[in-house]
């Protein structure tokens, strides 16, 4: 059995040589069961999308589709303007992801530059603000955007991006910038670089894996955003894909292969993009991977 590079940190030194059966169960079988449990819903989504329409209810659990067909996917663009919705979603994501990355990295870098006392105060202030659930400011935020005359545009959909998507993303950057040594920042300053240049040329290139991770998480967030389009978009030709999926559900509430195909189309971009970042985010040592290129 090969032990991971940091194995000793998990305190299994004494056991390392023995590959007993309980050990294999603990290390592989139980994790595999949980992994299967969490992958199961996605599997059912795919299997459900491959069922032919109008088949009678299955008598037992279907782990594989009986007569798999892609017919449901072919019917999608006939029922909703699929490509228009996808293009709208792509446009929103193309605007929102760079904004999210910019705000999260600027804020994370700002936290890095503060003294430890000030940083603690800011983090506490941040937590206090975050006690306000987003849903509690829906109505009045909508009113502000309505008074600004930007309802039914994509501008309000960028509001979560201006808030860095989630405090988690700011935290990721703050962690990562913590690994950039002071000496490098000051060396760049002594050579006359402004702080923005230091951020862009010295700090950001050292945390590229973190940028990848934040961009990917921002992508999944904005691609999936349902509430903001629901509140702010009124013209059908501006709908993003999640709204289109809800629309599809209202049109065909019992056409399960069709609805599962629609869900697969919504999910596939997020899964593909996430697979790019899993090497960083779910690394054996995520903190090191965020800073070092994620090649462990």
């Amino acid at each position: 059995m090969i032990r991971g590079p940091g194995g000793h940190r998990f305190g299994d030194v004494r056991l390392s040589g023995r590959a007993t059966i309980p050990r294999i169960i603990g290390r592989f079988v139980v994790p595999a069961l949980f992994a299967a449990l969490f992958a199961a819903p996605l599997w059912f989504m795919v299997v459900g999308s491959l069922r032919p329409a109008g088949l009678p209810p299955p008598r037992t659990l279907e782990v594989l589709p009986p007569e798999p067909t892609l017919a449901a996917y072919a019917r999608l663009p006939e029922l909703i303007p699929l490509f228009r919705y996808l293009a709208n979603s792509a446009l929103v994501v193309a605007l929102a992801v760079p904004l999210t990355v910019a705000v999260a990295s600027l804020t994370g870098f700002g936290l890095r530059l503060l003294t430890p006392t000030a940083r603690r105060r800011v983090v506490l202030g941040l937590l206090a603000v975050l006690l306000v659930p987003v849903t509690a400011v829906w109505a009045t935020r909508f009113e502000l955007f309505r008074l600004a005359g930007v309802v039914d545009t994509y501008l309000p959909l960028l509001a979560p991006a201006a808030l860095a998507g989630s405090p988690f993303l700011v935290l990721l950057y703050a962690w990562s910038f913590g690994g950039v040594p002071d000496s490098q920042l000051w060396a760049a300053r002594l050579e006359g670089a402004g702080w923005l240049t230091v951020w862009r040329r010295v700090a950001l290139p050292q945390v590229r894996p973190a940028t990848l991770a934040v961009a990917v998480l921002a992508f999944t967030f904005h691609w999936a955003n349902f509430i903001d389009p629901l509140l702010y978009l009124q013209s059908g030709d501006r709908y993003t894909y999640p709204l289109g999926l809800q629309f599809l559900r209202l049109l065909n509430p019992t056409d399960w292969p069709l609805l599962m195909a629609g869900s697969v189309v919504a999910t596939v971009p997020c899964v593909l993009v996430f697979l790019l970042a899993q090497r960083v985010l779910l690394n054996d040592d995520p903190l090191a991977a965020l800073r070092s290129g994620g090649r462990r």
């Binding site: 992994a35 804020t107 509690a136 009045t140 909508f142 809800q246 995520p286």
Partner: protein, 293 residues
């Protein structure tokens, strides 16, 4: 450029400015506006709200739907937060140690988190379908007749909790990272003292991770109070018998469907108060247990 070291704190604040402006405009200002609008007759359709004093408060005190909504939200938080925390922490500790292929176990656990929540809700409509759904078919394998999940108040509440037990990736990653930071020598010492895996978990891992766990509990409480909107909107639309009429759903109905904008603002204040009370309670409990010193 002179006075570098003195200017440094100011520079840090300057980098925080864009975020601070966004928080002020998009969170703090709307939160305060709730207070203003709550005492008007604003419908969300006209531009001239009038002051109506405590009319909305009187309506609030005599609103059976609000009671249903509060009960639904509180039950949901009481069930969903422990389940989600247990899943995130348990799985993170189970999968933290390096092992061949270990990353792919973590990928599987994280996957439901990247599924867009509408797609996850539509998927659960299918999974929970009493006739076709895989969950009832699975129960059928064990000889159980299955449930009419979304048609019964109790199972509908459980169904929403079940669905939200899957997207737990954020807490999962945080615990993975926090576990990695713990000093391995402590575990070596504990192992030499004859402390087994469960003893290590109880005496070392959980106490050392306590601050992170408290933070996650607070964050998850807030998150749970808001993320239940999409499942409730797609799965049940607040039915059956108001069992899933969570506060966000009720606010949405009032503010955007029933033209009761001002009343919605007042319920938003109730939601903020509920959030504050739950979190204060949580922190007081934690202080009593002395996990944080």
């Amino acid at each position: 450029m002179t006075g570098g070291r003195n200017r440094r704190p100011l520079t840090g604040w300057a980098f925080l400015a864009p975020y601070a402006v966004a928080v002020a405009l998009l969170v703090a200002l709307p939160a305060l506006l709730n207070v203003g609008y709550a005492f008007t007759d604003h419908t969300g359709l006209t531009r001239d709200p009038r002051f109506v004093g405590l009319a909305n408060v009187r309506r609030l005190l005599d609103d059976p739907f609000l009671l249903d909504s509060l009960r639904a939200s509180l039950l949901h938080v009481a069930l969903a937060v422990p389940v989600r925390l247990l899943a995130a922490v348990g799985l993170a500790l189970l999968l933290a140690a390096p092992r061949p292929g270990g990353r792919w176990f973590r990928v599987a656990v994280y996957l439901p988190t990247v599924v867009p929540d509408v797609a996850l809700a539509v998927l659960f409509l299918w999974v929970l379908n009493p006739l076709y759904g895989p969950l009832n078919q699975l129960l059928g394998l064990f000889g159980h007749p299955g449930f009419t999940w979304l048609a019964d108040p109790t199972t509908a509440r459980l169904a929403v909790v079940l669905m939200l037990a899957f997207p737990i990736g954020e807490g999962f990653v945080v615990v993975l990272a926090a576990r990695r930071l713990l000093d391995g020598r402590l575990y070596e010492a504990a192992a030499l003292e004859g402390c087994g895996p469960f003893g290590q978990l109880r005496r070392l891992t959980l106490p050392l991770l306590a601050p992170v766990l408290v933070l996650l509990a607070v964050r998850d409480t807030i998150l749970t109070l808001q993320v239940n909107f999409v499942p409730a909107y797609v799965l049940t639309d607040g039915r059956p018998a108001n069992a899933t009429l969570y506060l966000p759903v009720y606010i949405f109905d009032q503010a955007f469907e029933f033209s009761g904008f001002a009343y919605g603002a007042l319920i938003s204040m109730v939601l903020m108060a509920v959030t504050g009370v739950i979190i204060t309670g949580l922190l007081l409990m934690v202080r009593r247990w002395r996990v944080l010193r």
